[in-house]
């Protein structure tokens, strides 16, 4: 590789990392429920992106590539096994994100109780703002699978998130608090 090309690639990557990594961290945190886990997975995903930067930089959506990779890393059972010890040590320290209200913490807890694939769909749909089709593409799952996961996640969260409760009943709790 030529020196100039290598420097340009480095600058490209650094700019990509600087402009996207915080956002991806927030998204992956929502998918994992642990900041330490998310931080590790995101760092590893960007390292892999750099490892094959010529390919990833030419990808239609490099940020989605990194997010998908980070998600896969975070749910990989293989990684969980090797990091169990580490995670154990960290528990209760780094995972405390300052600035969260009790409502926030309750929602993080509720999200943590649903399966990872459902949580991922919830985050991509309601936070990242992706359509069902887009999620289907990113997750490599059929549209119907995405719909099912979303419906199950909504149902599981219904007690916690009034907006997901039965359509016929008017929302109260969270709405009221937000308007106050």
């Amino acid at each position: 590789m030529f020196e100039g090309e290598s420097m340009r690639e480095t600058a490209d990557f650094d700019a990509f990392y600087a402009s996207t990594s915080r956002r991806v961290l927030g998204q992956v945190f929502m998918m994992t429920g642990s900041r330490a886990e998310a931080e590790d997975a995101v760092a590893e995903a960007y390292a892999r992106a750099w490892q094959q930067w010529d390919k990833v930089s030419g990808h239609a959506a490099p940020e989605a590539w990194v997010r998908t990779t980070a998600y896969r890393i975070s749910v990989s059972t293989w990684r969980k096994a090797t990091n169990r010890l580490l995670a154990h040590r960290r528990h209760g320290q780094a995972d405390n994100v300052p600035g969260l209200t009790p409502d926030h913490v309750a929602l993080v807890d509720a999200l943590h109780r649903i399966p990872a694939d459902q949580r991922r769909v919830i985050v991509l749909h309601y936070y990242v703002g992706m359509s069902i089709d887009e999620i289907s593409q990113e997750a490599g799952s059929p549209v119907n699978t995405v719909k099912t996961r979303l419906a199950r996640a909504r149902k599981a969260l219904a007690s916690r998130v009034s907006e997901f409760a039965d359509e016929s009943t008017s929302t109260s709790g969270m709405e009221a608090r937000s308007n106050a």
Partner: protein, 268 residues
């Protein structure tokens, strides 16, 4: 549209984003460079093993872990293909050993309304490594096909048993893990048809394998496959290469379509 929910998610994500500094980009790049170097080292070891396999084997024997979920496969000299480390994934794989000649036993009966199970002697295996576009890589995948070489329709249902074999003809540590998130379905094979499964393995060493020589027990260029519910094995030339993670192989149940034609699995 639950806007309030979205707002809460946004607040939480923002708090997580701001909770600490991001790692320096240079550190991330160094980690990527290290990964690249490790991968190159793995490839180098594969090449070295391919050349000098015999010298390497003495050491690897101590590292073997026995397969936990498939019957031990005794060495089967008659079924073993000559070791050729350079073999590319081939469209014309090793023919299955047909020592019994029993495959044609039912040829006389015109129609059998319920096709029976596919027997090992009526199947031929083939192994095709591939890469899903956009997939990051500590893992490698391959389509594993079993083709019905008899003139009778038969049925395959379930998972394969797999044993990794090196160029020296010796078994390598193998631990077959059956994926839990795909349902098993019967695959009916007319003569000449193929049932497919996916095999996934890790080619970068885990912490306790980093200093193994040859890396992770050495090169694998052949697999023994036991069809579902069968007891005898097929030998399949398979350019597997380095298998780390103590020989962990994740396998899918057999299906009609080639896994590489579908989307990559999400999650694990």
């Amino acid at each position: 549209m639950p806007d309030q929910f979205t707002t809460m998610l946004t607040d939480i994500a923002k708090a997580a984003e701001e909770a600490g500094p991001m790692r320096a980009s240079s550190l991330i790049r160094r980690r990527g460079d290290q990964r690249r170097a490790r991968q190159r080292a793995a490839v180098g070891v594969v090449a070295a093993v391919a050349v000098g396999a015999i010298a390497a084997t003495g050491f690897t024997l101590g590292l073997h872990r026995t397969a936990t979920n498939l019957p031990a496969i005794p060495p089967n000299p008659t079924a073993t293909a000559p070791p050729t480390a350079t073999a590319a994934p081939s469209e014309t794989p090793t023919p299955a050993p047909s020592s019994t000649g029993s495959s044609q036993a039912n040829a006389g009966s015109v129609t059998s309304p319920v096709p029976g199970r596919c027997h090992a002697s009526n199947l031929r295996g083939s192994f095709h490594p591939f890469e899903w576009p956009g997939q990051a890589g500590a893992q490698a995948e391959a389509d594993l096909g079993l083709t019905n070489i008899s003139d009778q329709t038969c049925v395959i249902f379930g998972f394969p048993g797999v044993q990794l074999v090196g160029p020296d003809g010796k078994s390598r540590a193998t631990n077959v893990v059956r994926t839990t998130n795909r349902p098993s379905r019967s695959v009916t094979l007319t003569p000449g048809a193929t049932a497919w499964t996916l095999v996934v393995w890790t080619f970068t060493p885990s912490a306790d394998e980093a200093n193994t020589n040859p890396l992770c027990g050495g090169h694998v260029n052949e697999i023994k496959v036991i069809p579902p519910d069968e007891t005898s094995q097929l030998t399949v030339k398979a350019d597997v290469g380095t298998v780390c993670s103590h020989g962990d192989l994740t396998v899918w149940p057999f299906q009609v379509n080639r896994p590489s034609d579908g989307p990559p699995p999400s999650g694990s």
